[in-house]
Symmetry: C2
């Protein structure tokens, strides 16, 4: 056994609504408190100016220069060609070159995904990375995937999502044998559309702890460790939860206001937000199925979320998430004969 050395995390200092200030602030906190080495990738003068606001001398932080940033909404493939030195590309490139163990960006998800696909690659059997994570606060341990990256899926891709989700649940939470369910319209085997029925047959020979169908109503109850769905269904689940949470917050607030203390109103509304919305406790989620640890966080992330995203990256590196996922995927493909 080799001695464990500190994890090196490349952080895209220029990505996100509050970059570089909040990103640098979060990175400084991580470097100070969490035993990680931070490689801050960005415009040198801008990053230097932000670093100067913190008492960062002596912390394990190194600045790596980049040029430009890919904005939310830019077509990723084109942007990658036009800005070859953009911060997200340089960050991801550090992982490819072995100079960092993981990368983190709060910038454009599309750009981070494109950079990861081009520089790190995705495992065989996948078209592109999956997006996923424990997005329902009501079921904070249930990993849902895919949440929108893969809207048209072959049945075998759903099995790959199950393998990836199980690897995540094992690495990140230490769940020994994660229960994997397939989102469908009824609990009984055979209930579902053609895609689900075909995937069910594959899941049953996949070697996963496949527990059959899970209905959407069971997601909020946390009845499985991993809930698999195609990106079309997953995106609907994620956005409906957010939309309903917003609608309910408004209603509950108007019901309570003036009748109970403002403190209670805020607590209840905050609780609804946490139950229904994308959990931000992890700061960001990994691009799943990528041959490397690449974390994408919320564009609105503040320093705390940035620090937590760096922590998530570090934890996935230490738990050898990628090599575990690689082995599991290879084993499942062998069993399935695909």
């Amino acid at each position: 056994m080799t001695e464990r050395t500190a994890v090196r995390v490349a952080v895209d200092a220029m990505g996100g609504d509050h970059a570089p200030s909040e990103v640098v602030a979060g990175a400084v906190e991580a470097a100070r408190n969490d035993g990680v080495i931070v490689l801050l990738v960005g415009d040198e003068s801008a990053v230097g100016a932000e670093l100067a606001k913190h008492d960062a001398a002596g912390l394990p932080i190194k600045t790596i220069p980049s040029e430009g940033v890919i904005e939310e909404g830019e077509p990723p493939a084109l942007a990658l060609r036009q800005k070859p030195r953009a911060s997200v590309l340089v960050s991801t490139g550090l992982v490819k070159k072995g100079q960092a163990d993981a990368c983190v960006s709060m910038g454009s998800t599309g750009a981070a995904m494109a950079a990861a696909v081009v520089l790190l690659g995705v495992f065989e059997g996948l078209d592109r990375p999956a997006l996923g994570g424990p997005i329902l606060g009501a079921a904070p341990r249930t990993v849902l995937l895919d949440l929108g990256a893969n809207v048209d899926c072959r049945p075998s891709m759903l099995v790959s999502f199950g393998v990836i989700g199980a690897a995540f649940a094992r690495s990140y939470w230490g769940v020994a044998n994660p229960a994997v369910g397939l989102l469908s319209v009824g609990g009984e085997a055979g209930k579902g559309n053609r895609q689900v029925r075909e995937a069910t047959a594959l899941f049953e020979t996949s070697g996963l702890n496949f527990v059959g169908n899970v209905e959407a109503g069971g997601l909020a109850a946390g009845s499985v460790d991993v809930a698999v769905m195609d990106g079309f269904a997953g995106n609907i689940v994620m956005k409906l939860a957010e939309g309903l949470g917003d609608a309910l917050s408004d209603r509950v607030r108007s019901q309570l206001e003036g009748r109970v203390s403002e403190e209670i109103v805020e607590q209840v509304v905050q609780d609804i937000y946490e139950v229904s919305n994308v959990a931000e406790t992890h700061g960001g989620g990994p691009l799943l199925g990528v041959k490397g640890v690449a974390i994408v966080g919320h564009g609105r992330a503040g320093a705390g979320a940035v620090r937590r995203a760096i922590g998530t990256a570090s934890r996935l590196v230490e738990s050898e998430f990628v090599s575990s996922m690689r082995e599991d995927l290879a084993r499942a493909r062998e069993r399935l004969g695909v």
Copy 2:
């Protein structure tokens, strides 16, 4: 113009968790107050005993004998053959024979649907009836369909759902030119899976007031009059809303209990239920795309919901929902060349 005569509604007195007592009670209320003629279909002695509990003499109620009832969970096709005189079949048969203008059942949805398909038929271009209605209390005017009857849909079926939903919004609420949206993963045209992209091209030539994609987050905001989706997605939307509503009710209740009056707790929890759950204000929804008015209500319906379901039936008959839907569907199919 012919003089308007009272609408005749055949009511399956034996279907539902609280049949025949609550069904008969609701039917009596409708006959007494709502200007409808009720044909109560059921076991003569059981229905007679229930009628005797009410002051029903002189009301426009007639009992039609049937034998047996198809229970929730019985395979509908088999049950239809084994129980040819079952209450739901006799009720639906009255519509077919022109002896009733509409039928209502609180029993098995599968049985009601099978009876409607066999006896009334579905319009060309549909495989089976669609389930739908304004299921989100947060958006009480937005008709969602399909909610689970058609889990695998050809793109042209989605257009038919749009036509049907628009006919419903026009007939039932008098919306002149209902805005029809297609549930997808992004607001921009072209965002979506293959099914959505193919359907979008058809919608654009359908003659509907097609407003493009609607995201799941916009459903709760009521941004369209009709939201079209396949039955797989629709069922997920419906069940997730219910599941999240339950989870949120529990959380809000535990946050509030002991801190505010029990009355406020109940009001808030009830409001969450109404916002997130299937709206019961209509008592039941029509089987959509059927060549006749056939309403299916919730199995748990009490007398009030039964009365409202009969009212919904009457309203759809008076607004000539079926003939309007027939014409609209034919026109759309002509435009689409299918």
